[in-house]
């Protein structure tokens, strides 16, 4: 049986990678300007005779695609970690208020420093994730401490506190965006539903260090996440420092989410759907769940962004709305299933 899980994991990873490559090709070539396969490859290799697509690919499609992938992977991974440490399949950075916390901090930042997301002020763009991180962490810590009882994390309360805090902070964000000037408001409104339309290389550069820093830590904690599925006494008996590990993992996942939120806005549901899919495909070992969740997250966000860009072209939907369109029914389905 363990063998069959391993096999399913390998198959899922392979299928995911194939799908990912297909999506990559589709995203880069399809659009208002359509590229042929040869044209695309030539442009990517820098050997296109006229170089007429260089700007389109290098300035628009490629950074946006890479950003979508990074964010999807980060959110998927963070969701898997949060579901692991809370032992609750409904935990998700969006539901736990981490998105809203990071979002609120970034909106505050935008409000006081009056920068629009398209701006090229590098310092400001690089500083945004830090703000997001502070906001996200504050929210996560708040939820964490309010859901502890007798030294253990009450996973029901973890969710409820998160939902309450999340709605509160979203309301605050909305209030502040209403006080912005119309141009900033446009940006902030689009950003608050999660959008990649302002993606550029600066955004990619902003999230990458966070991912490079936090993803290895999380992957190394796969075994710890497995043990988190046991009861608290057993974890302690096995010599796990429960509080410390919980803290580290919460910090890492919040860091990931905050960095993502800072550049793309609050894309919800990725961290909810993706770990579930990963678990149903690869079993309960986090050594398999984590990489699969990252891969599926990439696939989901890239695909959703592709649809957001092209379904109503030339008008564009926010990618967050696209993901939510897929995510809400899935969430309701999960709620029903968990009741049964």
């Amino acid at each position: 049986m363990a063998e069959s899980n391993k096999l399913r994991f390998t198959l899922s990873m392979a299928a995911g990678l194939v799908l990912l490559i297909m999506t990559l090709y589709l995203t880069l070539s399809y659009g208002i300007n359509e590229l042929t396969a040869a044209g695309l490859i030539q442009t990517l290799l820098g050997s296109h005779p006229t170089g007429e697509y260089d700007v389109l690919i290098y300035q628009f499609r490629l950074p946006r695609l890479i950003l979508a992938g990074l964010i999807g992977g980060g959110l998927g991974l963070a969701g898997a970690v949060l579901q692991g440490i809370s032992r609750n399949g409904l935990a998700d950075p969006g539901i736990l208020g981490i998105n809203a916390g990071a979002g609120f901090a970034v909106i505050l930042f935008m409000f006081f420093f009056r920068i629009s997301l398209g701006g090229a002020d590098w310092m400001a763009i690089l500083a945004m994730p830090a703000f997001g991180l502070v906001g996200g962490l504050a929210a996560a810590l708040f939820v964490y401490f309010f859901s502890r009882e007798n030294g253990r994390l009450d996973s029901q309360r973890f969710l409820l506190t998160g939902i309450a805090l999340g709605s509160g902070l979203s309301a605050c964000s909305l209030y502040i965006t209403l006080k912005m000037n119309p141009a900033d408001f446009q940006t902030a409104a689009l950003w608050s539903v999660g959008s990649l339309s302002y993606a550029n290389w600066a955004c990619v550069l902003t999230v990458t260090p966070w991912l490079l820093l936090l993803v290895p830590v999380i992957l190394q904690k796969a075994v710890v996440l497995d043990l988190f599925q046991l009861d608290e006494s057993s974890m302690r008996s096995l010599g796990m420092n429960v509080e410390r590990e919980q803290g580290i993992l919460l910090l890492c996942s919040t860091g990931l989410v905050s960095a993502c939120v800072a550049v793309s806005g609050t894309i919800g549901f990725v961290g909810l759907i993706v770990p579930h899919l990963a678990k149903s495909l690869a079993g309960i070992s986090h050594q398999r769940i984590l990489p699969l969740a990252a891969l599926l997250g990439m696939l989901l966000v890239i695909l959703a962004d592709f649809m957001a860009k092209n379904v109503f072209a030339p008008a564009e939907l926010a990618v967050g709305i696209m993901v939510a369109l897929i995510g809400v029914p899935y969430f309701i389905y999960l709620l029903f299933k968990s009741k049964a």
Binding site: Q229, S233, G239, I284
Partner: protein, 271 residues
Amino acid sequence: MSNLRVEKLQAGYDRRLVFQDLNFAVEEGKITTIIGPNGCGKSTLLKTMGRILRQKSGTVYLYDQDIRQLATQEIAQKLAVLPQNPVAPAELKVEELVAYGRFPYFNHGQRDAAADRQAVEWAIQMANIMHLRHRELSQLSGGERQRVWLAMALAQETAILLLDEPTTYLDMVHQLEVLTLIKHLNQMRKTTVVMVLHDINHAARFSHKIVAMKAGRIVAAGTPQTIVTAEVLRTVFHIDARIMMDPREGVPVCFSYDTIQSENLAAGVQA
């Protein structure tokens, strides 16, 4: 000789204190059983000794070292605790759960694969669960599951084993199997065992030493012959126990008992 002892220990939950000023030393290489009525503090003592529960004051010494000064992972190489109601995902394989017992030997993601495999193999054989190794936990009976959890604790390869009511919810045969396994382990590896049991006859038959607790205090401690007596059971459990010797095992057996209140009541009816 004692490898685990507590001094002036005070422990409890929230504001409720279960015991205070408790002193107790576990005898190395022996099986010690704690008995006592519900709520007397036997589980709390076991949990505090196994650092599952943090004491309010006092000290637990593991090999003469204050347990709070030691890294929890280091403790897990010397002492394993089997809690009362352990929980694991239903889809987990038996073998996988037993392998979790090797977590104390993890070192920043590094592991000694050969030693791990050997320990898991030994634990699986010791607990007699070879035939279950590829099953999922959800497919096991209560008795099988308990042996699997015991195997996980065994895979930790500790010199000390603390067991909180290891026979609860098991039928007679499975109770005996688990206790025989523990006795065997003690004989083979000189493992120090401390367990909480409710069955006095099991305590008498499988322990070298019995500790009787009542209302947060240790009221008596000694060999089964000195503890399983009408007098001690009267003070500890408020029962009128009828004791005889089991000639085959050479241990006292409580073959029946009455509560002291109901006896008084019966006397009242007669009068």
